[in-house]
Symmetry: C3
Subunit: 159 residues, 3 copies
């Protein structure tokens, strides 16, 4: 492994760390900045993903659509009685393309209700593609592949 590869790996870990903390501290307005302008973002089930089904709980084909989603969430969620906590694990480079890297990583999201009840909210893996954008890495694609068919939520939140 070259020093360059070491540095890149740590940069990628920092990307995921920043992404996770952005969501968990509810800074959703900053969330679209992790993506390229013409990004693809989807939350789907493993079943749909493996069957090649295009559907998803959330489906966006640009950064602007992600911004619209955040606006919609903010209008709907006037009162937010729960907290989400992401645990991320095992980032793996699946393919090293010329201009992009295909990555996968496992996640677990734990939800804590205001009264204190904690539940396993979602588990699964990211199937991502990142590209270098000046100093930073950004997600050109992010597929959130859930182990379950559905998640227990009224409003699909970013994962």
């Amino acid at each position: 492994m070259q020093l360059e590869a070491v540095v890149r790996r740590l940069e990628l870990e920092q990307l995921y760390s920043a992404y996770v903390h952005c969501l968990d501290t509810d800074q959703l307005e900053r969330w679209p900045d992790f993506f390229t302008e013409d990004c693809f973002y989807r939350v789907t089930s493993a079943e749909n993903f493996e069957a090649g089904m295009p559907l998803g709980l959330i489906h966006a084909t640009s950064r602007n659509m992600l911004k619209d989603r955040v606006s919609a969430l903010r209008e709907a969620n006037i009162y937010e009685p729960q907290r989400y906590r992401h645990l991320l694990s095992s980032i793996k480079i699946v393919e090293n393309r010329d201009e992009a890297l295909d990555l996968t990583a496992n996640f677990l999201v734990v939800r804590t209700m205001q009264e204190g009840d904690m539940t396993l909210f979602a588990a699964g893996r990211y199937v991502d593609r990142v590209v270098r954008a000046s100093e930073d890495w950004k997600f050109a694609r992010k597929e959130v592949v859930l182990d379950s068919r559905q998640i227990d939520t009224l409003l699909a939140i970013p994962i």
Copy 2:
């Protein structure tokens, strides 16, 4: 990223790994050694933390107070019928001060009872400050910010 930054990042990961294994293997007597002499340690809820409330389930303003806490736990917990397992994720450098680093990281603690029941015991994030102490990094501050208002335990254990 410079090589120096790479090395530092891995040192910080090692610090957290060592911390986690110290707790999970119940080597509590070694736990205070992860802190500076005049450290600040607190376990609190996200609600209290965000409101700037000084209270907490555990509150210590020196390493000696942490040692006292361990002694108290050892006297009380003659019989320990459960195991705790920390999952740590997404260490992030929030601010790079001259002599110290401000860090945050997500955690999940799973508790397994002797009969085998497993529960989500605590989820949240660390809000930490580390300083270099000769060869090692030590926690000058550690705030354990729980997503829930309270944790289901008779005796507040270190997290």
Copy 3:
């Protein structure tokens, strides 16, 4: 920390990442390749492990035994109605031997049933020994030490 140590640490993280994704994507036929030919693999409880008991839910003393295990699982599990997701955390080098490294790491396995129910399936730690095999690291020993006495499964799957 030397550059060599940095590179090695990242190689070890990659080893665990690859291992986890191999299991979670159900590529069990590739699982024995993570081990040396004369490997030792065991799934046991913390209780048994600490008492030095040789027993275990799974016990293998060669890579071929692991292959047999996978064959048996494939024959039995004609229909697989659940998914497993590994969260791995806090890889720690416990001892640096001449030709081998002793490692430990925490894990949590979440199981999602086809109907969507998610449960904490297993938590615990790996107690591992890795050796360098040409380009790669392989597990010469892997002990899966569960926090609970038993796991809720009809067929002991690899962890």
